[in-house]
């Protein structure tokens, strides 16, 4: 088990760095304007939207309600940190109320 753990740590570490470097190297081949440049500009938003969708895929009703409230608070206040802490308080309060 011990040697397997170290092999995994080193192997996955190397693979992760190769993935990270490849992303930049591939993107640097893309022209500065045109279709692919527009796609690259839209990528951060699409990536976060996808990530949130994946996280919410198996979310409970309480998590969905809290996520919608976090989104509303962030959209109104434009303060992500405030919205994050508000979300934690909201979900903790709802869990406490139900328990």
């Amino acid at each position: 088990m011990n040697i397997e753990i170290w092999m995994t740590i080193i192997g996955l570490g190397g693979a992760s760095f190769a993935i990270r470097l490849s992303g930049y190297l591939l993107a640097s081949q893309i022209p500065q304007d045109g279709m692919w440049a527009r796609a690259l500009q839209a990528l951060p938003g699409c990536l976060i939207a996808s990530l949130v969708s994946l996280m919410m895929l198996n979310g409970t009703m309480l998590e969905w309600i809290s996520a919608v409230m976090v989104l509303a608070i962030a959209a109104i206040t434009r303060k992500p940190t405030l919205a994050m802490f508000a979300g934690m308080v909201i979900i903790a309060a709802m869990r406490f109320a139900i328990a």
Binding site: L12, S16, A49, L51, A74, P80, G87
Partner: protein
């Protein structure tokens, strides 16, 4: 490329703006530290994994594969599959890393995580979207915190209060949801975002074992959709 003599100020600003994401990631890192110890990792292995891989979900999945006896090759493959999305993260950092010396590109990409994309939202109003040191500061501070909380988790692997009771487990979801309004560029984002989310949800429902590939597919197809739309 943005040139600045105040590189250290940009670095400090990046560290400061990364704080909310660091708080959220800390809860995840703590959980990894706790679980790793319970799965048979010693503290050096736990810290080494966080230091070399620097990807929460990837580390957790690799560890799980090992603990059920699937072997190193399977663990590396599964962990890499989950980290494939970072390829898209470093792709978005093209303008930050362009024209930098090779060692800075290496370090800049090494510190890239999902949180780097969230940091872009804070970078916009500060006019730091192409500042290398801003993203370096943010990434490096998250890295140090990640390793520290992993170590803390491994040390105090028992007697931790229930994180769900105080909503800690929700922090990582909440911070990414909270960055969405800042990412919004107007109605031109409606279709790409709906497409990206729809693909993730449908793929994840149909193939829950391979849900992380849906994330990559959704983000790429959403971005291509935005690229095909020539309206500005």
């Amino acid at each position: 490329m943005k040139q600045s003599n105040n590189w250290y100020l940009e670095l400090l600003l990046g560290m400061r703006d990364m704080l909310p994401m660091s708080v959220a990631a800390a809860t995840y890192g703590l959980a990894f530290g706790l679980l790793a110890t319970q799965s048979g990792f010693n503290i050096f292995q736990t810290i080494s994994m966080s230091a070399l891989v620097f990807g929460g979900s990837s580390q957790l999945v690799a560890m799980e594969q090992l603990s059920i006896g699937l072997g190193a090759a399977s663990a590396i493959l599964a962990g890499s599959a989950l980290n494939m999305r970072i390829l898209l993260v470093t792709a978005t950092m093209r303008n930050v890393l362009a024209s930098r010396p090779w060692w800075q590109v290496g370090l800049g990409t090494f510190f890239a995580t999902d949180a780097s994309v969230a940091l872009m939202q804070s970078a916009k109003p500060r006019n730091m979207t192409t500042s290398y040191w801003y993203f370096f500061g943010g990434g490096a501070s998250l890295y140090v915190i990640w390793i520290a909380v992993t170590a803390i988790g491994a040390i105090i692997s028992s007697g931790v209060p229930n994180p769900q009771a105080i909503g800690l487990d929700f922090a990582i979801i909440a911070i990414f949801v909270a960055t969405l309004p800042g990412m919004w560029r107007g109605t031109k984002d409606v279709l790409p975002w709906l497409l990206a989310s729809g693909i993730v949800l449908i793929w994840g429902t149909l193939f829950p074992e391979y849900a992380s590939w849906g994330l990559i597919g959704g983000a790429v197809i959403g971005a291509i959709c935005a690229g095909l739309n020539n309206e500005h």
